[in-house]
Amino acid sequence: MTMLVIDGSETSIKSFLRTLSPVDQVGAESRAAMLGTRSIKTASKLWAIDTAISMIDLTTLEGADTPGKVMALCTKAVRPDPTDSTVPHVGAVCVYNDMVRIAREHLDNNGGKSIPVAAVSTAFPSGRASLEVKKRDTEDAIADGATEIDMVIDRGAFLSGNLAKVFAEIVCIKEICGDRAHLKVILETGELVTYDNVRKASFLAMAAGADFIKTSTGKVVPAATTPVVLVMLEAVRDYFQMTGKKIGVKPAGGIRTTKDAIKQLVLVNETAGPEWLTPDLFRIGASALLNDLLMQRMKMKNGQYSGRNYVTLD
């Protein structure tokens, strides 16, 4: 296997990324489509629903977010279905920086101490700000209680070939996170466009210190398509082979239904492998998905669909 020799210089990064195998678009898409035909029924479906719920980064990232909205989201994160205590809590709550403190306090006061708060930092979603601003943004979020930082990469720098800049920013934010916060690096694959870019950016982020690689901000379409997630899962699997380190994957954006979520779990199971099927290594960034999972769960338990009003809005 290839050895990782990156000292942060443009040359070292480029020569490492050149050793990566290319991705064939047609082949990757047809593999993802084939895995999409897996038929997950009965007990395995119930297991998948609960696993997916426990992997959700329950997210609200709107200009219109208010303390009231965030608190409601946190309540739901702790007990997604108030009528059924067997439903697991979600993986994390994901908010903008200024909502971190509110989310943390509300979770702590409502039985959600173990649920981390993730903050989207570094001038999310575009990343178009100076490094100083991005650092400060991250420090703020951690000071307010965020234990997971979802940072964006500088896609402009990546696309113009300035890989050292992308790398250095991740290294810098990782330093700030230290052991206080987990770092998720958002590639914004909808802007990187090609699967070769997705694979390269995945390795770049992992080599720079990402704990997780994340597809998208949710603000760009397309977001977490199944072939993109497939390519990223192959990257973490290969990186583990090279280094012995397991990096997590977080698809975000466009995963709205139970069917979508189960497809993601199948991708994980048959690509990175079953050992990645844990909230420590796989998260799904979503908001609407949770209610669909809850409705499907009710249907499987009761044998019939309950109306939309049998699950809480937030």
């Binding site: 991705v23 064939d24 082949g27 897996r38 199948v266 199971n269 048959e270 844990t278």
Partner: protein, 480 residues
């Protein structure tokens, strides 16, 4: 935590299998004149599905007579547009009854429902749609101003893609104005007999399609019948040679689609994960019962270890078992005889010093099963590098330079298919020019389309099926 997929069996309620089947001659199911019955079984559990008829020479004669009458009285008198209407109708019925065909094919053949559902049946319908479009445009096919049909065509098809091979044979024959006597393989006759019902449902004039079941003796009776003008055969090279000898002294036209020992050539710059998928698809698709299977993996020596490590990991995820389960990737071997053949050749690999590898997988007790397997340390001289195994067994051979890869790929009596895996466009074009194979895939494998001609070099066959080239096999004209 493990994600165990619960059983997801496709229901068999949709199929209505009769206990006994007669022969389909002149638009009706009729009893044989003196022929016995034989059983067709489900190779996944060895249960008898139905009894079908062993057609005798007298039955073949009746079928040829019906086809001759239909040719003279109706089919050759219809315009191309009218013939096309029937083909369109058949294509639509196949689509409407796709699930029924998929389930029946899986039961009779042993191949996974995912493949019958997503490959066999949709492609069979596509062949009828494609050829329906040609029926009224034959004079524009570049085959002369007024290409003529042969008359009665005898068609003998194999058990690996029963309905699909039927479609490959019947669709072009009817589009070009011929009538048909077709014999499905003895282990997989049921979808052909269901297709006979489709012909009735489509109101196809009687005698245009005749389907008679039986073994090699029935096939020989078709080949040797003087009333037949053209033979189309898909099957083993061994039988193909016998047929070629039989028709050599006659005026019968002949197309043969025979065996293969396809090379899947992987260069060092290949997109490796997709290449692994392509290797899997090349040899473990349809249990390796594919004449154009990529049964020889030619890998550049400097990436062999990396590629095989990935291949092993991927093979350990192949789901072997109940073909009717929607998540099954590898189904049952079609027959006891084929299983014995695969075992015998695999054992010759062991004996000749190659090293066998299979993932851990539990095989069902009943039925015919062989795990996905590859051999390393294979040399060109080994039997497993030269003979068609027609099973889920891959022979891994290394090369050092592009020209060595081509030499090894071409060093076979066969010449049906090849695959090229590289990120370099120029190398794809260069390799494709050197390879002696009828079908060459670049960065993919086992992709089929009715518009694309299919056929072999050397002992892999004569003539082409599909596309404009495939029409030529069913027409006489200035081009011949």
């Amino acid at each position: 935590m493990t994600f165990e997929y619960s059983p997801a069996p496709e229901s068999t309620a949709i199929v209505d299998i009769k206990s006994d089947y007669n022969l389909f001659i002149d638009g009706k199911f009729v009893p044989s004149k003196g022929g016995k019955r034989f059983a067709t079984i489900n190779p996944a559990n060895e249960k008898v599905l139905a009894k079908v008829t062993q057609a005798t020479a007298a039955d073949v004669d009746r079928a040829v007579k019906a086809a001759t009458d239909a040719y003279r009285k109706t089919w050759s008198k219809l315009s191309g547009a009218e013939r096309g209407k029937y083909l369109f109708r058949i294509a639509r019925i196949l689509q409407e009854r796709a699930r029924e065909f998929a389930v029946l094919e899986t039961m009779d053949n042993g191949k996974p429902i995912r493949e019958t559902r997503d490959t066999d049946i949709p492609l069979a319908a596509a062949h009828f749609f494609y050829h329906a479009g040609w029926a009224d445009k034959l004079e524009h096919a570049g085959l002369g101003p007024q290409p003529k049909s042969h008359g009665v065509v005898g068609q003998i098809i194999p058990w690996n893609f029963p309905l699909l091979m039927l479609a490959w044979k019947i669709a072009p024959a009817l589009a070009t104005g011929n009538t048909v006597v077709l014999k499905p393989a003895e282990t997989t006759p049921l979808t052909a007999l269901l297709f006979a019902e489709v012909c009735q449902q489509a109101d196809l004039p009687k005698g245009v399609v005749n389907i008679i079941t039986g073994d090699g003796a029935t096939g020989a009776a078709i080949v040797n019948h003087p009333g037949i003008h053209k033979i189309a055969f898909t099957g083993s090279t061994e039988v193909g040679k016998l047929i070629a000898k039989s028709v050599a002294s006659t005026k019968k036209a002949l197309t043969l689609e025979l065996g293969g020992k396809g090379a899947n050539i992987v260069f060092e710059d290949a997109p490796i994960d997709e290449t692994v998928e392509g290797i899997i698809n090349g040899i473990y698709f349809n249990q390796g019962h594919v004449c154009c299977a990529g049964s020889r993996l030619l890998v550049q020596e400097n990436i062999k270890e990396e590629l095989l490590a990935k291949l092993k990991r991927r093979m350990s995820m192949i789901r072997v078992g109940d073909p009717l389960d929607k998540n099954t990737d590898l189904g049952a071997i079609n027959s006891q005889a084929q299983l014995m053949k695969i075992r015998e050749l695999a054992e010759s690999g062991d004996a000749e010093g190659a090293e066998r590898w299979s993932p851990e997988c539990s095989l069902p007790e009943k039925g015919f099963w062989f795990p996905p397997t590859f051999f390393t340390g294979v040399s060109q001289a080994h039997r497993i590098a030269r003979e068609e195994i027609f099973g889920p067994v891959l022979s891994v051979i290394t090369f050092r330079t592009p020209s060595e890869a081509i030499e090894k790929a071409n060093n076979t009596p066969y010449g049906l298919s090849a695959g090229i895996w590289t990120d370099k466009g120029s190398r794809i074009l260069w390799s494709a020019q050197q390879l002696k194979a009828g079908v060459i895939w670049a960065n993919t494998f086992n992709k089929f389309d009715p518009a694309s001609p299919f056929g072999g070099y050397k002992e892999s066959g004569w003539g082409r099926e599909g596309g404009r080239h495939g029409l030529a096999a069913y027409l006489k004209g200035d081009f011949a």
